[in-house]
């Protein structure tokens, strides 16, 4: 018998690839061959410690040990140091699960990510995969819906609507055809949890959507994925094929007679498609123009049929809830924000990545303790929470807990859980101008406050930055923001004022700097 081959993990996650993981995987294979050593290279998802990517792990009898960040040129040295048996090297990090970043977390939805081979169903099953679905298949639809309701799960896309109530509406609706739609149009800057999950554990999303289908009696589902995520597209497409091959998807889910057909559909570079009704229009093949509500999609959604539209993370939370019980999930969190929140820490941050924790952790603990402050080493000046439509907070506001209501109380929002850190070189008047510029580019154009207001907003900001009649233009800016907030049809126009007003209210000095010439464009 030949020597046992050693398992080496090199992530295939897009973030890891963006800093050279592919070259590292090739170098490991090459070195091993040259040295006549048996290694099995597994392309896992990322653990979420993105500043350590490419993070290479080796499986030892006592657990996995990590090395990072590894460049391809480091690989020969790792072999020299005997890393296949846990040898010490300058890049040694110790046991992965004992790293402070991992130990502080409560990994629930992300428990398998970085641990397993994303496209191995066998690996998925051996790490508790499909247990939630199997339990769901022993329940009635109403019982599944009741469990989701009891867990307190709220939509992770940003609006925070109780998932169970949405499911109940679709469950109770009478229709020949119902749909399950996953909103995977993760367009908010600063967010990447959906991408990480789809690349790192695609079967989890499939399982969550299948449970939804069984619960409400839907037979068709779509994952609407943004085109900026080619790696996730590949992972999901392959995972769906594998799921079909073993009868997890298809005419009879796991042989139970429930049909569920799932397809990935690509978006085409429109931020507005993250808004659920515009997403549905896009899935129907139309311009992604926002619909007026009511009717709500739960009653008249895709092709006018009852439709569950949930975010990736909402669906992905469900299998755990079914497996461990609604109460176990609800035991995490605070107030009306139950369960765990995958926080994404990015921007100018020393240690950025994904942190899954129960709701309620203060922002400061995440940004300073876990993130280690700015990458530039300069003081933190502003933190944008919740994507391009979220508020800019000051360093003094960072003691606010990550919770829907606590953030709403300071006129901010949690959104999809993205945190973007800026150092003291940021010009907040420019950021306010950008919020309007972005809205002008991405508005669907249906309602006037958003379509026209965004363009007027850019013009007003240009005048303010240029020092033209500042007090008057700031009055116009406030008035415009109030109008957009009150009269826009959806969150695009309705929330663009949030970053603008927070910049104006918290960083007023940036709106009163020495005049600059009007922008050329």
């Amino acid at each position: 018998m030949s020597a046992q081959s050693v398992k080496v993990f090199v992530p295939v996650d897009a973030a890891a690839l963006s800093v050279g993981a592919e070259a590292v995987a090739k170098a490991v294979a090459r070195e091993a061959e040259a040295r006549g050593l048996e290694v099995e290279i597994i392309r896992n998802g990322t653990r979420g410690m993105l500043w350590l990517e490419p993070l290479v792990e080796v499986e030892l009898p006592e657990g996995r040990v990590a090395y990072g960040p590894v460049a391809a040129r480091d690989v020969a040295g790792l072999f020299d140091a005997g890393f296949l048996s846990g040898g010490t090297h300058a890049l040694s990090l110790g046991k992965t699960v004992e790293l402070d970043w991992m130990k502080r977390q409560q990994r629930v939805t992300f428990e398998r990510i970085g641990v397993t081979d994303p496209l191995s169903l066998a690996d998925y099953r051996s790490h508790d995969g499909l247990k939630g679905l199997q339990y769901a298949l022993s329940l009635t639809g109403a019982e599944i819906v009741e469990m989701v309701k009891a867990s307190g799960l709220r939509g992770r896309g940003g609006a925070g609507f109780p998932t169970g109530i949405k499911w109940k509406t679709v469950h109770d609706a009478k229709a020949e055809q119902k749909y399950i739609v996953c909103n995977a149009d993760e367009g908010d800057s600063g967010t990447f949890a959906d991408r990480m999950l789809m690349e790192g554990d695609p079967f989890l999303l499939i399982e969550g959507m299948t449970i939804a289908a069984v619960a409400v009696g839907a037979t068709r589902g779509y994952i609407y994925l943004r085109s900026e995520y080619p790696h996730a597209h590949k992972a999901l497409s392959r995972a769906i094929l594998k799921a079909e091959a073993v009868g997890l998807l298809g005419d009879s889910v796991l042989g139970t007679g429930h049909a569920f057909h799932l397809e990935v559909r690509l978006g085409a570079g429109a931020y507005i498609c993250g808004e659920e009704t515009s997403l549905l229009e896009s899935l129907e093949g139309k311009r992604a123009i926002v619909r007026a509500k009511p009717p709500i999609p739960a009653l008249k959604g895709l092709f006018g049929k009852p439709t569950i539209v949930n975010n990736v993370l909402s669906f992905a939370a469900v299998p755990w809830i079914l497996q461990h019980g609604a109460q176990a999930y609800a035991d995490y969190g605070m107030g009306r924000s139950r369960g765990t929140l995958p926080v994404q820490l990015g921007g100018n941050i020393k240690r950025g990545g994904l942190i899954e924790l129960a709701f309620g952790i203060p922002l400061r603990e995440i940004i300073e303790d876990m993130g280690g402050g700015t990458r530039s080493g300069r003081p933190i000046r502003a933190v944008q929470v919740g994507g391009p439509l979220g508020a800019y907070l000051t360093a003094a506001q960072l003691d606010t807990p990550m919770d829907y209501e606590a953030l709403a109380a300071i006129k901010a929002m949690l959104g999809h859980g993205g945190i973007v850190v800026f150092d003291d070189t940021v010009d907040m008047a420019r950021q306010a101008r950008f919020a309007f510029e972005f809205c002008a580019k991405e508005s669907c154009g249906k309602c006037t406050p958003c379509r026209i207001g965004a363009t007027r907003g850019v013009e007003v900001m240009d005048r303010i930055i240029a020092g033209v009649e500042r007090p008057k233009n700031i009055a116009v800016l406030r008035d415009l923001n109030k109008l957009m907030t009150d009269a826009s049809l959806c969150a695009m126009g309705g929330l663009t004022p949030m970053p603008v007003m927070s910049a104006l209210n918290h960083f007023a000095e940036d709106f009163d700097r020495p005049s600059l010439p009007l922008a050329a464009e």
């Binding site: 973030a15 993760e186 990447f192 080619p230 093949g285 139309k286 990458r375």
Partner: protein
């Protein structure tokens, strides 16, 4: 580098008919055409309209609504540069400025050149490792102006 064949109306027709059975087939068809030819030639609009029982205006409307769909042949290389907030926090605008100043490459002007296009996108989901760009489908993190300039140069484009 991606090399696309010249537009072939017969081939395009067969792509349309191969996908027209899908629910809401417009976007899958447009993506498939663009993947094959690098762009969607306007001469296919009436064919799609006929196959999906839509008006030409509806098909034209869909093509022009989405940033992704192009109606003229694709450049040899497309660099999708993220200029959203998380990359701004890491200096993507300074990269754009330096590219113009030090390398004489104007991002907005390049967008119209036939050889290489730099397009602005908002978020590639690599927010902890920015500035980021998607180059011919590959994600690149911790981008600086020199790297971007190399990617923009003919030499880099052939690499």
């Amino acid at each position: 580098m991606v090399h696309y064949p010249a537009w072939d109306q017969d081939e395009a027709r067969s792509i349309v008919s191969g996908l027209s059975h899908l629910e809401g087939a417009t976007l899958p068809i447009l993506h498939a055409l663009q993947e094959e030819f690098g762009y969607v030639d306007p001469q296919i609009v009436p064919v799609i309209a006929e196959a999906l029982n839509l008006s030409r205006a509806e098909v034209h409307g869909a093509i022009t609504f989405y940033h992704d769909f192009k109606t003229s042949p694709a450049p040899r290389r497309v660099i999708k540069l993220c200029r959203a907030e998380a990359c701004q926090a890491l200096g993507c605008e300074a990269v754009v400025d330096e590219l113009a100043r030090e390398h004489g490459i104007d991002v907005t002007a390049l967008a119209h050149s036939g050889d290489i296009a730099v397009e602005t996108v908002y978020c590639l989901g690599n927010c902890a490792l920015g500035p980021s760009a998607l180059v011919d489908g590959e994600l690149i993190g911790r981008l600086d102006a020199d790297r971007l300039a190399a990617l923009c140069s003919r030499h880099g484009a052939d690499a």
